[in-house]
Amino acid sequence: MSTTTATHHDDHGDHGHPTGVMRWVASTNHKDIGTMYLWFSLFMFFFAGALALGIRAELFQPGLQFMEPENFNRLTTLHGLIMIFGAIMPAFVGFANWMIPLMIGTSDLAFPRLNNMSFWLMVPAAILLIASIFVPGGAIAGGWTMYPPLSVQNPSMAVDMSILALHILGISSIVGSINIITTILNMRAPGMTLMKMPLFVWTWLITAFLLIASMPVLAGALTMLLTDRHFGTAFFDAAGGGDPVLFQHVFWFFGHPEVYILILPAFGLVSTMIPTFARKPLFGYASMVYATAAIALLSFVVWAHHMFTTGMPVAGQLFFMYSTMLISIPTGVKVFNWIATMWQGSMTFETPMLFSIAFVFLFTLGGFSGLVCAILPVDIQVQDTYYVVAHFHYVLFSGAAMAIMGAVYYWLPKWTGFMYDETLGKWHFWLTTIAFNITFFPMHFTGLAGMPRRVPDYALQFAEFNMISSIGAFALGVSQLLFLYVVIKAIRGGKPAGDNPWEAEGLEWTVASPAPFHTFETPPTVK
């Protein structure tokens, strides 16, 4: 940072542009931190994906071929934990870091050092979680939801390590969310009112609020678990006057906002990409904002739909059924608006658009199966079956993960300065989409037919569909290697992208590609 004007560089100390390890370890730069989050997420995606392949290998045929049941349970538990906390959430934070300052025309996040801390806290959490595999007793195996009494009775140190890892992740998320909210509320370029912000910024503003409100409740649940384990408390022990279902209430009070945390940024990503490739502004911007806010608010009053079969009174079940069904309304508004954006647009189908259109269609399918689960008498039947597994993979993989993949393709030119290989990108898209559906669509049927979740072996009537799912899963896993290849290839070179290869709207496209280390040191004025 050897140059020029005193005004630009005096604001950020005497530092130059650090190199080597220090650049990453001591970073206060939103682009570098965003990059670290994205690589971390990609690595965790492959790790958790490999765990899933272990699951599908065992489930390829009935009977126990490869592993003890306990190890199978460890795979399912870690697959869930790492995908949610290690892959999806960090990817969204990576996008938030890279793109929010660019989109609102500011130089960095409000608290750049805290930003770096949020990232580096992920490392001890990941180490604790992965190390827990190797301690006596092995990794936790009671599902990512860690219900007591099992999680209280399990003597393995892995439970404590996992609890503490989640605490650290919670601190990372809460601090990061405070950072993001403050940035969005305080540092928008002059002229950028709230209702002129890109929708991705809105979805992250709302997601950050959900995180700050819900993660501390998870911390409470985890702490009660820890004290029940080691300090003789009776929160989840009926003999002491407690209740295992209490954990479920506290956990899901966090857990339900959490799943909206896992999808709202994806809504923002898709709302960014579709207008670009339809060459039309987003339809119904205001209603998109209100719908997102409505979804977030409603997400706090639906948690017990994860608990319909725990013996709660009918009045409670009915309340949660109705409130859950209500969420489909603002969600439907968003789906209609994406379609309306495309309507009579001038469309092209580059890879980001392919992922976005697939998102609209497949996420909607996931939303429908969620609505089916919301209906109390149906849920009594499908709770803890593969129908639920199908539902959440449709919303989380063909929803969140595919939105992330599409957005990576969308912004790779901005990050690297090079266009990615469009042919390979399309191959990746089609292989992923087809393999995804082969893997997860049959699970609707096995679930309705009664196959339970989290089982390493199953009744013979489920065999054919399980075999199909497993074949699809391996195809899905292998095709992600193509994604890795495309990303690395784009970083190393390609057709120069120019500032705005997609001719898209948005302040991020007004800076050079690759984006300079410092951007918008003086904020632009927005009309």
Binding site: A6, T7, D10, D11, G13, H15, M22, R23, A26, T28, D108, A110, F111, R113, N116, M117, W120, L121, V123, P124, L128, M157, D160, L164, A165, H167, I171, I174, N179, T182, N186, M187, I212, S214, P216, V217, A219, G220, T223, M224, L226, T227, R229, H230, F231, T233, A234, F235, A238, A239, G240, G241, G242, D243, L246, H249, V250, F253, E521, T522
Partner: protein, 276 residues
Amino acid sequence: MSQNTNNYYLPAPSLWPLIASIALFMMAGGLAMDLNDIASGNYVLIAGTLVFIYLLFGWFKEVITESLSGFYNKQVDTSFRWGMGWFIFSEVMFFAGFFGALFYIRTFALKWISQSTIVWPDFAGTWPTSGPAATQALEAMAPWGLPAYNTLILLISGATLTYAHWGLMKDNRKQTIIGLALTVALGAVFLYLQVHEYAEAAFTMDSGIYGSTFYMLTGFHGLHVTMGTIMLLIILFRVIKGHFSSKDHFGFEAVAWYWHFVDVVWLFLFVFVYWL
């Protein structure tokens, strides 16, 4: 170092975030080892805590130095206000989870256990209780003794803190210092009385659900009072050193907000844990 405050301050690359990660890693690892009776766990936990304290002093010192050097403009000040506000909100939600647990147990869980005819048919499910398997009667905490005094102490401490703030806004150094010192003293007295209450209590954390909820809620509150008192003490030192002016004293305000938050949580505790 020029003090251009037109642009938002961007800090230099810093190792404090990494040190924070190392500290929390050692604390978590040490705690996990400790809870599972691994001998060296204690040392790792203590070492991690020391690193954490070093981190807090180091990072805050860096921020204070930047502030005193005039790097922070109005916009940065606004960022700090938003940041502290949202942080306190997250702490509110943390307590909300425990209050929610208490509400669920008292309203639903105990009622349902008492309705069981097969297991523990004699259990009445009234509050307070150590649960159906309790072997001895529970002597709950009486609200109108020590807890009531503590309520008064915290409420008065809120007043002394406001008195100090008014002093600061009038550049009355003596008033500020006296008000802050009184607040710190009251906080310390509160903590002393709480420890005394814990020592004298007829029940422990493993005395069923009453003990569990009581100690979890009051325990975390006490932890927050401890942190608040330490922060107030540090602000007192900063006032004595002349760090603040009547126009510019966000550090004081942030800690004051925190202290009032701690006070409000106590009021909820007093009503829902001690009294009702």
